[in-house]
Symmetry: D2
């Protein structure tokens, strides 16, 4: 009954096998390993983007920060949601790598609307050299609240950005989960929807620690490489990043894992929705659930062995009837048994 984080689960055995297999003999470092050549081609095919620049880094913070650094200038402001990971959970890494600031767009169910984005963009226009200049837009898909931008919502956001000459980054730490939810192609969810660069997550979906940075305009490639190196994010023994991504993509493993995670989450959501006293805070559209429940109920679940975060209060102490927010996240390895056990426990 571990639903605390998709960062805390194991890597898929195929990923580990690939690591072990890659560990033979010598290989050129710093991305010049032959596996990377394969990975680059696979990602270009998957995205139907034969010219895309493709790089690997160790985690989402570095993927987001280096991509945004490559897309922005230090006198700009980056538009993002008011609950964006780049704003809340990266300890100023985006500011460090870009020199820019962030302009927060309000969200409903974790999602920005094109209209709200436009209001914020317009607000940055009237002060000439005095105010921060308009920089890129960053969209998180799956959102931090577990919701999904529909394709037309994505297109509306990027179209609004494009009106003002603004490029768009997609923080796809849970890219695969979103793709499964939308049942569309990677191209449809990215460049066909107006996205310019993608943090293509692997870590939360069964890898050891790897994210691909996909840049549809290859003119930015060399600057990205320099920024990655300057941030200390170019690995010498790069083959171990390549091998993870190779296994991740092979035979659709990444999609299977996301499908499984989403399915487990849907089961949990269904059970919670029917539970007296629990209330879903946002539509659960991928592999994350935020729900409200009385403290006493949370305590009962945690005491019973469920593992998840209670976000806004101590489940042990305080008014037993006070509603507290819980967060459940499923990863590829969450079992049907764990889900059933959780739901049984919930029903009491």
């Amino acid at each position: 009954m571990f639903f605390a984080s998709d960062n805390a689960g194991p890597a898929h055995p195929s990923v580990m096998d690939a690591l072990v297999k890659a560990n033979e003999g010598y290989a050129m470092g710093y991305g010049a390993d032959p596996i990377m050549d394969e990975v680059r081609e696979s990602i270009r095919e998957i995205f139907e983007a034969p010219d895309a620049a493709v790089y690997l880094v160790i985690n989402g913070t570095s993927a987001n920060s280096i991509l945004l650094g490559t897309m922005s200038q230090p006198w700009q402001t980056i538009f993002c949601s008011d609950c964006a990971h780049i704003h809340e959970d990266e300890c100023n890494a985006p500011e460090f790598y870009t020199g820019a600031k962030l302009t927060l767009v309000r969200t409903v169910d974790g999602k920005m609307s094109a209209a709200d984005l436009k209001t914020k963009i317009l607000a940055e226009e009237n002060r000439g050299v005095h105010g921060p200049q308009r920089g890129p837009l960053s969209i998180t898909q799956v959102t931090e609240k577990g919701t999904i931008y529909q394709l037309d919502e994505l297109r509306a956001l990027t179209a609004t950005a494009r009106e003002f000459g603004i490029k768009t980054h997609l923080d796809g730490a849970r890219f695969a989960n979103a793709l499964m939810a939308l049942d569309c192609t990677p191209a449809e969810m990215t460049w066909k929807a107006g996205i310019d660069t993608v943090s293509f997550g692997g870590t939360k979906n069964g890898a050891v620690g790897v994210e691909a940075c996909v840049i549809f305009d290859p003119d930015l490639a060399w600057e990205f490489e320099l920024r990655r190196k300057r941030g200390g994010h170019l690995l010498s023994k790069h083959r171990y990043l390549s091998a993870q991504m190779q296994a991740y993509l092979k035979d659709g493993l990444w999609l299977d894992m996301a499908r499984a995670a989403n399915a487990r989450c849907a089961q949990l959501a269904e059970g919670l929705a029917g539970h007296n006293g629990a209330r879903m805070l946002y539509p659960s559209e991928a592999n994350i659930i935020f729900f409200e429940m009385p403290r006493s109920e949370h305590k009962r679940m945690l005491d019973g062995g469920a593992v998840y975060y209670v976000m806004n209060g101590d489940p042990e102490t305080g008014d037993p009837d006070e509603p507290l927010t819980g967060r459940l996240v499923t990863d590829w390895s969450a079992s049907e048994e764990a889900v059933s056990q959780f739901l049984s426990l919930l029903r009491g």
Copy 2:
């Protein structure tokens, strides 16, 4: 006959086994995994430093940059050798993480002398607020030229620094190789010799990609953690760093691997020294050799299957008698066979 780089060799099978073993079930992320608790204790024991703060990162550039960032201020200058990795090979990462500049101290055989260091320190003293202020000293051990600072040389450098209130960082990307060469304890080569922080390398010596940052003054710990996060270098699935380091340290594996690498290097050095036409450029004291040989001889070796870098010219084209510099590096996996084969080929 692969002697191009200790970055290009495989990880030790025990390290891979540890990775696979760590890949079971759920584990708290971001350094809160139980394996890290073990690793921290092991490193404290190894360094006889029960209070030391210990962190893991993915590579040497980030270890050096974050440690130096923690030790310096953006209006300072960092003293280092004129061939230091932090100066030559990190694409301004140290400047990015510190905001400071570097003051280069000249080297003989890759090593700074205390007298030259003092001259440079004194040169930064006369300009009050106008000039950069004195920041930390960074020493590389094994040096970039494959030589070793003797303990008294280290102590002389740190004593000179300390005269001016300057703290010292050790870039120990090849820490184990140095230790084997000096046949001393980690404490003797670090805090007993006046070192304040250490980049304790694993990557070049049989790991997949892990370096420990050891900080003897635990008051700096929290700042280090914030700087690591802000640089995007805190891993979510941290257990895979911990597991590598755990295996690396277990039963002295790290020392065995360094011993092997140094022994192979010594054999190569002995063979080269006896070879007509080859000339050692620096004493080879660990696992690196720089040597000069006519272009035609390099070409003969490379054509014969030896793999190594020729640093200052194209071995294929030009005056066959012109002397060119070759670099050989051995890692733990270099075999006696490869060495014999190389030396046979050399003898012709």
Copy 3:
């Protein structure tokens, strides 16, 4: 009828005289001129702060940025109002000098409340190393909307900050105007109210271009000096900054000028309040007025020779009845005649 900005008016003749008088013979540069010694003592007396560190810079952006840099760390967030000059009008200079980000506290009439500040501070507490850490608070007095924090409001804000170990900066670009409005002492409006550092403005109140940075904790002095130099803000011919400030402070000239500016503004406000069709947007408590009036009325005033900014639309084109926002600012040199002329024109 020039009410566009207090940045656009002339310097007081006494300031110019002081500049000319200072221009005799040689004087040590970089702040070592004897006039600076006088200025430092005057400011310490005025603030009843015998140990305060006192420095001069050329403008408000640099005063704010260097002070905030001295008070914060690059992994922190600085709390300020959602209409703060440091957020809106300094093109990321605060971010450049601090490396930090800004957390915006909502305002009513340009002012933050202690309760809203507390909410924002608390929101930054739950994410450990992942989120930005709590940095200093910056308060603008006179606010950007022309209102004034009462002393108890200031004290409530700084007390809230202090609960969390947070220091407070006062952006006093219009310090003198605020002081006249509150009829209190500089000490009461600053350190007695819990303020730690002050940007003490001169430029908008009759100087050529000078602001004092007042730091009540002298331990921060040397870091401030280094940050000022590194930002290129230490003037070689510093005597010309000193002389301005000397004349500004002499015989209460600074207070006289602020008193005059506030008085002219009060007359304008009174006239506007009585004008059919005009509406004050905020209480005008110092030397700034924001008011709403139909487009046709703005057009009539501007055509009649009044000079001021219309903030949110073109007064020339559009629905004549649409209400637009105008901003009037008075400086020391605004004449009673100009005010009368403006009000006559308004009455039609």
Copy 4:
């Protein structure tokens, strides 16, 4: 007998008159004042560069740093002399504004040679993404040692840079003194010699505090403006910068002042050259002299009322025969009487 610094002298009375004259009524701020329009046109004419972008800042450190920031990227290294002001005397401001590092080229008599520059440029070419990339070249004219690059020397340096696609900045803190020494046009000493941007100094040559930044490629103009603002170097009451520069340029005042300064310096140099016991360290070609003399002689001069810096030792204490280095700098206001008095005192 004040020869300590050209930063310590007064501004020319015409400059002060212009300041006073500019102090009438209202003027648009931030560079939109009408005097700036005149100044811009004057500088374009003086440089025969009708398209040049022209901006004013308060001092040389900001001029150099913002120009270099506009010309470089944070992963580059800037080539400059080993005694450059940007390296030695700006407390990391160039690093702060650029993010780049500096590569020092050795000097003879304060001047780099094209051959030495080429060696350093070539040394930065072999490490791909690992090493810093080649950024701009910065040349100081008059050099920090008081010598002058001849036009062919300038052309040789910029041609070498241009071979590698490198742009060149001229630190002309003493631009006028150099021009008088070379007896050439501003165009000949800059863009006709391959210079791309110029810090055109006023402060050391009779202004209160103003330098023009001249950028021959107007495509860089907007970025410069944003960088200036972000550094806090855009003045609100900009007219006082404009007025200084207007007076400085009017009727060749700037050239007259430099001519006077150089002439006084030449007289000092001639006298020193004939003095038993004094030795010129570099050819004195503009308004600076470095000379060596026994400590006892320095002491005698200083006791007699001469004011200048002794660079490398205390003139009061130590072996009276030990040679110490003195530096004399003349500005526009140095009188013939002061020079005669100095030389009489020297002769004893």
